[in-house]
């Protein structure tokens, strides 16, 4: 009987079974950022413990960094305190730190893969739920709490229970204007925001096989939004090609050995799954959220669900969402006025996202009254975008080109919504208050749809707004460095 990648990686990293029945699992790569680590380092100090494997922990700063200036100290003294704490903690424990001003700095889930730290067959964790992003490479990657950050620092292991594995088999070609973001919003909408609790999602099928690494990262990034702590794709030639030559990727004979090991870790053809679901790629439309969780999503040409569309058990959340968002059941979402447009976050801030948007916004102009931001995911992305002249294209179209960081994805830096502003956002969470105002509203969508909303001044179908460049499958999906 064949094994899934999940099972193979789990087994290879198992240290022992603990008294309560949990597994002690070795962690191959630990990523650290400023928000969830200070209390873990403090606990370590309190217990008088050292970092067990400092060579396998890498730190950066992303959540609190402003996107308009690198000047120190940061204007926000609380943010400056967090930054200073991370600098001191990493220096004291001999941990590599990609800080403010370092060319390698960026959103932790963007730089891990970019630096080649993220590799197939690894266990990867970070005190951040979107660690699932790294699963795109065939790693078993998941978010942890601060006490677990402490555990990994002190022992490089965690006490865990294995997940069940659901194969999400997606087949067929995506239509023009339909992206990985639409696929994952569609999957979450179909399986529900709690459908993945207790499961790892293995994304497979011809649609996934045809995806670039950056698209696979978008897909895996949001598996946690479907309740699945882990999402992954099996490593293949696309994966290896992407990794080759990256700073921390193996070289020479080690490279050949690595590719062999990576091929072997992929799920066996006869692997056994706890569940299998099928998704028809051709049925996926540009998808947007209308409510206050990522499962409250709809095709751009559909109507907001009415009471009869919603199971009784979800009606409370449905009513709450309608009230909070100020939208009407049975009405279209297209045409909803937009105040802010945000292209960025660990879901959609990579070079291919920016290239694709730039291709469509040329010759268009952001509608008066809309604040539109493009925030690259890392300095590496920013540099490459600059080399290709993308910032000039965005600025000519009326977008602000910012410095890398989490920015508007969450309210820990100066980029925030005000009052009940509505934001068309390429990020991953539309929870109440997520973007910094207790009444702020978020509509999640692909970066190209965000650009369309910015230009139309309202939620709009990118296939209409960009009819010239999006017609007849003219998309360059998959293009990347």
């Amino acid at each position: 009987m064949g094994r899934s990648l999940y099972r193979k990686v789990w087994d290879a990293h198992t240290v022992t079974t603990l008294a309560d029945g949990r597994t002690q699992l070795f962690i191959g790569l630990h990523l650290v950022h400023e928000v969830t680590s200070p209390q873990a380092f403090a606990a370590l100090d309190e217990l008088g413990l050292a970092v067990a494997y400092p060579q396998r922990t890498f730190a950066t700063v992303d959540h609190i960094v402003p996107t308009d200036t690198l000047a120190r100290p940061l204007a926000d003294s609380l943010a400056e305190g967090m930054l200073a704490a991370l600098e001191a903690n990493t220096a004291r424990h001999g941990i590599a730190y990609f800080g403010v001003g370092d060319a390698r700095q960026g959103i932790v889930h963007v730089i891990g893969p970019e630096l080649g730290l993220t590799q197939p067959g690894m266990t990867i964790c970070c005190g951040d739920s979107h660690t699932s992003t790294h699963g795109a490479f065939g790693a078993l990657a998941f978010g942890i709490g601060t006490s677990q950050v402490r555990d990994v620092l002190a022992t490089q292991t965690l006490a865990l229970e294995p997940l069940k594995v659901r194969r999400v088999q997606i087949d067929g070609a995506l239509g023009a204007g339909v992206y990985a973001k639409d696929v994952i919003l569609h999957v979450i909408r179909t399986l529900g925001v709690k459908g993945g609790v207790g499961f790892a999602y293995e994304f497979a099928g011809s649609t996934v096989d045809a995806m670039s690494m950056e698209e696979r990262m978008t897909l895996c990034n949001m598996s946690i939004e479907g309740g699945a702590r882990v999402g992954y794709c099996n490593p293949d030639a696309t994966t290896f090609a992407w990794l080759r030559g990256r700073a921390h990727a193996p070289t020479g004979t080690a490279w050949d050995a690595a590719v062999g090991a990576w091929e072997a870790v992929a799920s066996d053809a006869d692997a056994v799954y706890d569940d299998v679901v099928h998704v028809d790629a051709a049925a996926i439309r540009p998808t947007v959220t209308w409510g206050i969780n990522p499962g409250q999503a709809m095709g751009i040409d559909e109507a907001i669900p009415t009471a009869s569309d919603v199971p009784a058990s979800e009606r409370g959340t449905w009513q709450d969402a309608l009230d909070y968002m100020g939208v009407t059941a049975g009405a279209p979402i297209a045409g909803t006025r937009v105040d802010v447009a945000f292209i960025g976050s660990c879901t959609n801030s990579r070079l291919s996202d920016l290239r694709e948007v730039a291709r469509h916004v040329q010759g268009h102009k952001v509608r008066d009254g809309v604040t539109a931001l493009v925030v690259p995911g890392s300095w590496d992305v920013a540099r490459q975008a600059e080399a290709e002249g993308l910032p000039a294209i965005f600025e000519a179209a009326g977008f602000q080109w910012r410095q890398p960081g989490c920015s508007m994805c969450l309210a820990m830096n100066p980029d925030k919504l005000v009052g009940d502003q509505l934001c068309a956002s390429s990020s991953n969470r539309n929870f109440k208050g997520r973007q910094g105002s207790a009444r702020g509203r978020t509509v999640l969508m692909s970066p190209v749809m965000v650009a369309a909303a910015a230009i139309a001044g309202e939620v709009a179908d990118a296939r209409s707004v960009f009819a010239g460049s999006l017609g007849d499958g003219a998309s360059t999906r998959g293009g990347e460095a």
Partner: protein, 212 residues
């Protein structure tokens, strides 16, 4: 190194915060996470549900005088979904809560709770509503969560309460904080690390044993 105490029961008054899919951004809005210690987070638990922008109270159950000192939160499905921030359970803990009863929990949240010794008891959806209604009607009544027996009692009524087997075991044995047990395995950890396919190019071959 510290070790937890066994938690066979949680006894305390309840407070009902109804609603499904209550996410961690609601439990602790991100803007309150700019801190290097968890001290003081309790004041911000459910902040935006409790206070208007001008700071005035919205009359949330957590602020009702009758519920002051309640230690068991009763809520809806998929409680604690969203971010992995331990700030969420820490805020609840520092607010004074020691247990949450709900029909289901997000995984990372439940794991974080266990590590802090907060009991996340799974009760039926109808039972959650019944317990919620009961504690709302009788804020002074005391709930008893029996971890070993798997039941919640309130006066002469009681309901089944489930916990994952390993969580139950961890709470009962006092091993809900696993750090010490993990640290004891340093030699085995090193063996596993050196045998990994990627040990050779990641500095794990010949990796030193934990210096802790």
């Amino acid at each position: 190194m510290k070790l937890g105490q066994p938690i066979p029961t949680v006894v305390g008054r309840g407070v009902f915060v109804p609603g499904d899919d209550i996410d961690t951004d609601r439990i602790i809005p991100a803007r309150f996470m700019k801190c290097v210690t968890f001290d003081g987070l309790g004041a911000y638990a459910f902040h935006d549900e409790r206070f208007r922008e001008d700071g005035s109270s919205k009359g949330h159950p957590l602020d009702a005088a009758a519920h002051a000192g309640a230690s068991v939160l009763v809520s809806g499905r998929n409680f604690g979904c969203g971010s992995s921030r331990e700030h969420a359970p820490q805020a609840l803990y520092r607010f004074g809560l020691r247990a949450v009863l709900a029909p289901s929990f997000a995984e990372i949240f439940a794991g974080n709770c266990t590590t802090l010794g907060i009991v996340c008891g799974v009760v039926g959806a109808d039972d959650a509503d019944a317990i919620g209604a009961a504690v709302t009607a009788e804020p002074g009544a005391v709930l008893t969560l029996d971890v070993a027996g798997g039941r919640v009692a309130l006066g002469d009524r009681n309901w089944p309460m489930a916990l994952p087997a390993s969580t139950r075991e961890a709470l009962l044995s006092g091993r809900w904080d696993p750090l010490q047990e993990l640290a004891e395995q340093a030699a085995a950890v090193s063996r596993v690390a050196r045998a990994l396919p990627y040990a050779a190019w990641t500095g794990l071959d010949g990796a030193e044993v934990s210096r802790g």
